[in-house]
Structure formats: C-alpha cells, structure tokens
Amino acid sequence: MAPASKLMSLSEAIKQYVPDGAEAVMGTSLETLIPFAAGHEIIRQRKKNLTLIGPISDILFDMLIGAGCVRKTRAAWIGNVITGSSYNFRRAAEEGTLETEDHSNLTISMALKAGAMGVPFMPAFTALGSDLYKTNQSLKKITCPFTGILLTAVSAINPDVAIIHAQRSDEYGNAHLWGNLGVTREACLSSRHIIITAEEIVSPYVIESDPNRVITPGFRVNAVVHVPWGAHPSPVPGYYNRDHDAFIEYRNDSKTPEVFEKWLRLRVDNIKNSDDYLRLLGKERISKLKLRKQMISEPVNYGY
C-alpha cells in the first residue's frame, strides 16, 4: 500500500536509465516542455552512441549531437524553429558521422503509436510519393486488405526510455501535464522506461484530484526528478514563456565547433544544479519569462 518513492537526482536518473547506446525519445510535445535539463545531464555524463527519437526537437537534439552523444536520429525535423537550420546537426550529417532516419511528424507519431498499442506497424497515407522512403527503413508500402488501396506502413518504435518534462508529479510518477500534448502519450506507453522531470513535486492527492490530467500511468514510470525550469528555454504552460533570445543566442553559439565547445562548458558542464542554471540565466531574464496573464482552469468534480 506504500509503494517505493521514485524520486531521485537528475544525475542518478540519467545514469540508471540512459545507458550508452540507448534509444531515447525526447521533445515529445514539440515546441513546448522540451526536457533540456535532462538533455544537459546526458551531455555532462557524456553518454555515447545514443539514438534520439522525436518529432522536431528544437535545438535539444543539436546540442546532444554537438556534444558527441549521438549515433543516430529518428526524427521529423532537427533545427532551430525560429532561426532555421542548426549547425551541429548539419556538421555531423554532412560529415557522415551521424546516421539519420527521416520521418514526418505523422510517421513518427504512428511509429510511437504502434509501439504503444503493441502492434508492429501502423498504416498512414503520408510519405507516399516522397523520398522519405529512401532514407527511412521504417516505411514500407502496403495495400489495404479491404479496399486494395496503397498505404504507408510505419514500423513500430519502442524506445528504451522516454524523457518527459511535466508540470507536476507525485513521487510515484503520476504526473499532470497540460498544454499541447504532441506525441507524449504514445511515447510514454511505447517506452520501456520513463523518466519524468517536473517543475514541482506534489502530493499524490493533488494528482488524484484530476486523473484525466495524468499523462501516463505512474506504475510504468521509473524515475521522478524535481527540476524547476527544467524545460528552459522552451515554454512550460502554467510556469514560464519561451525564451526566444536563448534560441537566437544558441544559433550564434553553435556556429563553429569552437564556439560550441565554449558554450558547452559555460552552459552545461559548469552547471551543477538548477540553482547554478538559474543564477547564470539571471534574475531579470527569469522575471521576463514568468507568466504575466493568468488563465485558471474551471474546476471539475470527480466525487461520487
């Protein structure tokens, strides 16, 4: 009746559940709730030969690639949403040191959905006629057994670990996540392990007051980590806005391997915890990102 707490440090969670060579799905809400803090810890631990899975990733994958952690990506888009291409990804792909499996947002969501549903593939109409077939072995053409029409079969992806940033979680892995959900629900259900990083750790009672808000059943979650501002510079509904400047700065800080090395040292390796991170960010910037306009959800009742 008293299950074991899954609360641990970020360093411990990454150590335990992201071994070298792991397949990790991250950035599952697309432009929001990107688990940057967890990604930085992966870099600090200099994990090797990871496969990164996700729809668009918005610079997180670029950082991990630049730090030398990544062997392969299975993604729809890797870049910097407001500035375009990202440099580490370009360099690695153009030099041939990175293997890429080219998805669309629909194919990656179907791959994870197949994994979540426990079937080896899902059908879709996308990618037909495209060259994604040339650079993605997870796609095959099939014909519908009922109508005879052509479809794309997308092979299931079952990542070793899903790394999810949520707004609040209890210590047992029951987490509330709100805003756009992206592919988060299927990413959790398809993955063998789940790490939740959360803005706040709350009592189970808070979570149980709204079970529809729970992103995935907590019994399948392995690690819960308290990381305030853990998705910065991406936005977290209810907590902070997107830090556009950080994305623009990163563009400049990743233009060459040399400046990127400096960035890595300053912004990642030298950071020991959330406090360090926030100190470097600075009070003024933090306060600029905070919510200025509130919109509180109308309550609902789960009584009996």
Binding site: S29, A93, L181, V183, P237
Partner: protein, 258 residues
C-alpha cells in the same frame, strides 16, 4: 529581385499574398514561421471564421492575444479551442477535414515538389536541411497546399534533389498513382511573384509578378524555362489595414524583416 519600398517589405507582401489564399471558414493546417503569420493575418482581415489546426496538438479559431514566434508559444495555447495530441490533429488532416495548408521550402521544382531535407552535390550531401517536420504530411494530405519561399535560382530547380513534400511528382496523374489523397500545391508565393499550376500538365505557371519585379528577373532566377499564364497580373500590394494588422502580429519585424 525587388527591393523594399518605404511602404512595405517583400516579406510583408508575401505574407499578405499568402493570407489572401485562405477563404473565410476554411480549416487551415498552419505550418511554422511565415505560414504561421499568413494564417494569423487572414484571421485578422478577411477570414475571421477560419479555423487553425497546429501539428503540435492545437486547434484555435481566434488569433493569439500577443505576437508569437512559434506555434508553441503560450499565447497560442491561451483560450485555444482544443489542446490535444499530434496524432489527433494529423487525423483531421488525413481524414479530409483540412482544406488548406502552408509550407515553406528550401528547394522547389517545376511540379511543385519541395525539398527541405538534402541538397546534394555529385552524389554527396552538400547541405543537410532540417527535414520534413509536418511538411510531408501537409503536402500529401491537405485539400490543397500553398508554398511560400524566396525566389532564388538555386532554390528553383528543374528537379529537386529529394522530395520531402510531394507536389505533382513528374506531372499529370502522378499523385493519383502515388496514392496521395490530398489535392497538391495550389500556389507558390515567392519574393518575386505568384505561381499556380497548369490544371492539365500540373506544371508551375507564373500568374502574378510583384511590383518592381520584372519578368526577366523571375525567369533568370528560375532553374527551368518557367511557363507564364496568358495574362500576367501585378500582385496587389498590401492594403493599409493589412499592413497595420501584420505589424501588430510581428511588431519587431522578426519575420517580415523591417
């Protein structure tokens, strides 16, 4: 290429032209960057009842209350009509609910195929681009889609190096043969003009030239002998109201480069 005038920038003209492609009441699948702005402008002007569907799992039918740079900016979630899964909104796209979508591109060819993945050079990767995102899905599945991009010779090529987002493939009948349910590209809006597609051959056709741009200039910046419509129009400039709205949406000129 035309230079910016005092009144409006080229980007503003492009966004305005894009916005005008949206009819009121249509369901629009909104892509990132310039397309996002085009949709917001349409909502604020002639298409107030258009519904926006965003790939990260958002449906909203009012403009965000503050300028946004990405569709995931919190103002775009504020008072949204629906926050949901990517697969749900991709379902709306795939099941025929979406009328029109907008796509940017790095490279386009005479049949409207788009490449945002690989620029090749003698069989080797010259430039690795970010990839599809939702573009391949939008191009394949929306009722029609509109392409927005800069008009430069290295971008307008006879045949793209890689089809990220299918247009009309190699011409008439190709989409049907490929099994694509969506209608294909209906317009290409560039920094120089507007192209549509020949209804029979599916080849790109210049229909409108932006003020200050010459036909010669466009042809020189297109990597194949671009066909032109029987009567070429001049692209209407943004109205004052459109410019006012647009500048409210992009007050710092982040996208429209003022």
């Amino acid at each position: 290429m035309a230079t910016d005038t005092a009144e409006y920038t080229l980007s503003e003209l492009m966004v305005t032209a894009a916005a005008r492609e949206i009819a009121d009441g249509e369901v629009v699948f909104v892509g990132m960057r310039l397309p996002l702005l085009g949709f917001l402008l349409a909502k604020r002007t002639h298409a107030p009842d258009a519904v926006g569907v965003y790939e990260l799992g958002i449906v909203r039918d009012t403009p965000a209350p503050e300028p946004i740079l990405t569709m995931g900016d919190l103002p775009n979630l504020f008072r949204a009509k629906w926050l949901s899964d990517t697969s749900d909104v991709m379902g709306l796209l795939q099941n025929g609910t979406v009328d029109v979508s907008f796509i940017g591109g790095a490279q386009v060819d005479r049949f409207g195929n788009l490449n945002t993945s690989y620029i090749m050079n003698s069989g080797k990767i010259a430039t690795r681009l970010p990839g599809s995102g939702g573009a391949c899905d939008l191009a394949g599945l929306a009722g029609r889609h509109i392409i927005i991009m800069a008009h430069e010779k290295h971008r307008f090529v006879s045949k793209v190096d890689y089809i990220t987002s299918p247009g009309y493939g190699n011409g008439a009948g190709w989409r049907e043969k490929s099994g694509l349910p969506g209608g294909g590209p209906s317009a290409v809006i560039t920094s120089s003009g507007i192209m549509k597609f020949d209804p029979v051959s599916k080849e790109m056709l210049l229909v409108s030239i932006h003020p200050g741009v010459t036909l010669r200039n466009i042809l020189d910046n297109t990597g194949w002998p671009l066909k032109t419509a029987d009567t070429l129009e001049e692209t209407p400039v943004p109205t004052e109201h459109e410019l006012k709205m647009l500048r409210e949406l992009d007050p710092d000129g982040y996208w429209t480069g003022r």
